[in-house]
């Protein structure tokens, strides 16, 4: 019932009537509000907006020509290609596993369910650098599987598979975390009805479940994608920083920055910043589209 109400536009959160105020207190209260707002805005401006602006200013410091030159640099292009490739592999994988995990957790009762939920959260809790190190310890030359991989001439660490694995690990929770509460509140009645009407498992999934979760799913995928493209720590450990081969965009930026190539670094950074902005706008649009997500975002913000 609650979630049903929450689905109605404008009814997501109960609107409390404003508290009656005594006149005398009104002036200090307004002053307090203005002060707080001012401090918050200033903080955001200095710490978030200004750096973003600087990214773009610095990128174009040498003129449009050098900006384009920096972007069309073969190493930069290779890094872009690798980043897109990684995202293209990681996002569909996490999409599939995320749905499967959320489905299992929301629809079934089984032993070790809480264990599974905790496991899903592990990548959030562990520092990305450590996630990268874990893969090095497993697949690296001195790692557990290192000798065997070496014998069979399979390269994981300091190669694309390592980058994909590390990114998958770090971004795994986004889709599952988004779907679990959604599926739990939605319940099973539509699916049960579909079954009783003669639909099979796949039909029920495609025709009933997927449409029910599509906005939450898209939201999770967006977040997952943003993180997959922007991940630095874990990827940095497993990639080996081989220019043109195992450098992703964030690594490329870092290298250029260490080389005092500021225009190049900032030009590349502006691409990532643009991607982030596009993601944020898409997320905002989605939230407007789906009041339920907005309510959740508001709850999480609190």
């Amino acid at each position: 019932m609650i979630d049903r109400i929450a689905q109605l536009p404008g009814l997501g959160r109960p609107q409390l009537p404003p508290l009656p105020m005594i006149r005398r207190q009104q002036i200090p209260e307004e002053l307090g509000r203005a002060t707080l707002l001012g401090v918050a805005l200033l903080y955001l401006l200095v710490l978030v907006a200004l750096p973003l602006v600087i990214v773009f200013v610095q990128a174009f410091a040498g003129g449009v020509r050098s900006y384009l030159a920096a972007l069309l640099d073969p190493y930069a292009l290779a890094a872009m290609r690798l980043t897109l490739l990684t995202a293209a592999i990681v996002v569909p994988m996490n999409l599939t596993f995320g749905i499967a995990a959320a489905w299992a957790i929301a629809k079934f009762e089984f032993r070790g369910k809480n264990m599974l939920i905790t496991l899903i959260d592990v990548p959030f809790a562990v520092s990305p650098v450590i996630s990268g190190l874990i893969y090095v310890l497993m697949f690296g030359a001195q790692g557990w599987l290192g000798p065997w991989l070496n014998e069979h001439n399979i390269r994981i660490i300091f190669a694309v598979p390592g980058i994909v694995l590390a990114t998958t690990f770090v971004t795994f929770p986004f889709v599952a975390r988004e779907l679990i509460p959604l599926m739990q509140t939605q319940g099973n009645e539509e699916e049960e009805t579909a079954l009783s009407l003669g639909a099979g498992g796949w039909q029920t999934f495609w025709l009933v479940t997927l449409p029910k979760i599509r906005w939450g799913l898209l939201y999770g995928v967006l977040l997952c994608n943003a993180r997959a493209m922007g991940e630095f720590g874990a990827v940095s450990v497993v990639s080996g920083h081989i220019r043109g081969q195992t450098n992703t965009l964030p690594l490329h930026i870092e290298i250029m920055h260490s080389d005092y190539n500021y225009v190049g670094a900032f030009a590349t950074a502006s691409i990532l910043a643009m991607l982030a902005l596009v993601t944020l706008v898409a997320k905002a649009l989605l939230e407007r589209r789906q009041p339920e997500l907005r309510a959740r975002a508001a709850r999480q913000a609190v």
């Binding site: 019932m1 009783s196 025709l207």
Partner: protein
């Protein structure tokens, strides 16, 4: 039969939520499962739909065993309380869904869609989204959708629960109309008795996972078998009465003479305490006794008068000198907002406007009450009487989980040995079930109580847990009926699984074994036929003493129901030689004894539910006395 449940059991971690339910629903029948929340009625519906797996038993739809058939292949139409419409599809797409997943051609789908929307009076709504419809309209869409694939049965889970009163009545008529027109077998689950009365061909009442009683609405209302059903279906006054040699008596007054009681039913069960059900509308009110047209009950003071439109509700407090006792335990009585009234009996009465015109009443007036019509519950457990006197033992017995569960569920009163004897005890009639503490001394105590005429005795060991199973043992033909009556009463109120056990000696000749099997099957059939309950059967090879010894120390505590027929002097010998271990100090099992005194003329006569007296006012068709539920017998052709 359209839908058949045979001994269907479903367990969750805590225990059975649906417990040995057997039920047959005929073609085209509208069956309503009624019960409080948590009684297992929705689970039974989900079992029928195939959304949940059964643990035990069999479910058939139209003669096809579907116990292990998947939900999608069962061909049932299902409607939930919250509609469960597919929100991202239009109304039309919702209705077509069943045909779409079957790959039916678009044109055929469209034809069927229009047909169904017309059936639920929603023509022209096909292109709307579900969110644009009102709750009642959405539920009609859900009904149309459930009918698209021409299911064999329609299952409705509280379909009106989320709607407001007016729309509820409208939709109820729509559903009844659709169901009649299609002649579709339907099960509806609800907790609303008004809904059940207005829709049902037959009602089944569930409580604690048991199907307590089934029957046509009016026969369930007139002839309930349990206190629970009597008070759950409409209001009822329940009094402890005594059937003595001179008739039925409530308190000081005889309501019916002995000859008329015997003439009506030919009940051979002897004299005992009974639970009398009197509906509020069956009580007559007048200024004086002499003006009453019906059997006088007593007199009392009007406590309150509530006007409800068509009728008037009175509460009258009976004066204590009439000695009328409630058959509902003190802790289960509704106080009704008035000051605590102690042990005085408050009577609920409803009067029609014609009766109101004849005699206007105000609170405070003294009135005489008469009983126009009554019904006796077939349960032998009218009350529990603690026979122990030591305070510690009494406290231990009162707090024993089994007695508490029985009392809680049956709402029966528990009387102390110190309590004033009820009228029947003064008459020499032994009231209710005697409760004693188990131990080495208990056999002697039982024999003494039996010699005084007590027929049912519950023997509870200290620290006995709530029994997980009920085992019934009765090898005496003459004791069977009264034992089964006791078993039926206990079974309805415990969630434990019940098994009738036949004890057979390995050395016994073939003929004896055959007759033991016969007795086993007879017992099961009798329980089904007369009480509408299903039971399991088991054979134990060995002598009674070894069986008893095994049960006394079992890790799975049992309630052992023993049916014994003997003379009072033989009882002690039989109990100690055959079942002595069960009464020992270490036994963990509870014993419920049904004792029948050897009397040749009583043997083999069957007991039956009593029907109301005063036949002039109660046309007594065969239906009135018919068993409430349709039993399921193994091997009966469906």
């Amino acid at each position: 039969m359209s839908i058949t449940f045979e001994q269907v059991t479903k367990r969750y971690n805590a225990g059975p939520v649906v417990n040995d339910v057997s039920l047959r629903i005929g073609p085209g029948e509208f069956f309503v499962l009624l019960g409080p929340s948590g009684s297992g009625k929705s689970t039974l519906l989900r079992l029928a739909a195939g959304l949940t797996e059964v643990h035990h038993g069999r479910i058939s739809l139209h003669g096809r065993d579907v116990t292990h058939v998947r939900a999608r292949d069962r061909g049932v139409g299902l409607v939930f309380q919250h509609y469960a419409l597919f929100r991202h599809m239009t109304v039309g797409q919702n209705v077509e869904f069943a045909l779409r997943v079957r790959g039916v051609r678009r044109s055929a789908r469209a034809r069927r869609r229009e047909e169904l929307l017309q059936l639920v009076a929603l023509e022209g709504y096909g292109n709307r989204m579900p969110d644009q419809l009102s709750g009642g309209q959405q539920q009609r869409v859900a009904v149309a959708r459930a009918l698209a694939h021409e299911p064999q049965v329609l299952l409705l889970d509280e379909p009106f629960g989320a709607l407001d009163a007016k729309i509820r009545v409208e939709l109820r008529e729509t559903i009844r109309e659709v169901q009649r027109r299609l002649g579709m077998t339907t099960i509806l689950v609800t907790h609303d008795q008004e809904e059940a009365f207005s829709l049902a061909d037959r009602i089944g009442i569930m409580h604690n996972g048991r199907l307590l009683e089934t029957g046509r609405p009016e026969s369930l209302y007139r002839h309930p078998a349990t206190r629970f059903v009597a008070t759950f279906l409409g209001a009822a006054n329940l009094f402890l009465g005594e059937r003595g040699p001179s008739g039925l008596r409530l308190g000081k007054r005889f309501i019916a003479s002995g000859t008329s009681l015997r003439a009506v039913k030919g009940d051979p069960s002897g004299d005992h305490e009974v639970v009398t059900v009197v509906r509020p509308e069956d009580i007559e009110v007048s200024e004086h006794d002499e003006q009453l047209d019906s059997g006088a009950l007593g007199a009392g003071q009007v406590l309150s008068v509530d006007f409800n439109g068509a009728s008037e509700r009175l509460r009258v407090q009976l004066e204590p000198e009439w000695d009328v006792t409630s058959a509902i335990g003190r802790e289960h009585r509704a106080v009704g907002g008035t000051a605590p009234t102690g042990e005085q009996q408050i009577v609920d009465i409803t009067r029609t406007s014609a009766e109101q015109a004849r005699l206007a009443l105000k609170p405070g007036l003294r009135v005489a009450l008469g009983i126009r019509r009554f019904h006796l519950l077939p349960t032998p457990i009218a009350s529990f009487r603690l026979l122990a006197t030591a305070p510690a033992t009494v406290a231990a017995l009162r707090s024993s989980p089994l007695l508490r569960q029985l009392v809680e569920s049956m709402q029966a009163p528990v009387l102390d040995a110190q309590d004033a004897p009820t009228g029947s005890e003064r008459e020499g009639i032994q009231a209710g079930v005697g409760v004693i503490a188990a131990g080495s001394h208990s056999i002697g105590e039982i024999a003494r109580a039996a010699a005084q005429g007590r027929r049912w005795l519950l023997c509870i060991p200290p620290r006995a847990a709530l029994p997980a199973r009920i085992l019934i043992q009765c090898d005496y033909e003459a004791a069977r009926s009264s034992t089964l009556r006791l078993v039926a009463s206990v079974m309805r109120h415990l969630s434990a699984e019940a098994t009738f056990v036949s004890l057979q000696s390995p050395a016994a000749p073939r003929a004896e074994a055959t007759s033991a099997f016969r007795r086993l099957l007879d017992a099961r059939a009798e329980l089904q036929e007369i009480h509408g309950l299903d039971i399991r059967t088991d054979v134990h090879i060995g002598d009674p003493a070894s069986w008893a010894a095994q049960l006394a120390v079992t890790a799975q505590p049992a309630l052992v129901v023993l049916g014994v027929e003997s003379t009072p002097s033989d009882l002690e010998r039989i109990l100690s030689s055959d079942f002595g271990a069960l009464f020992s100090d270490v036994s963990t099992s509870v014993v419920l004894l049904s004792y029948t005194e050897s009397q040749a003329q009583l043997a083999g006569v069957r007991l039956d539910t009593m029907s109301p007296l005063f036949p002039a006012q109660t046309p007594q068709g065969a239906a009135a006395a018919a068993p409430a539920a349709v039993p399921v017998l193994p091997g009966t052709p469906a």
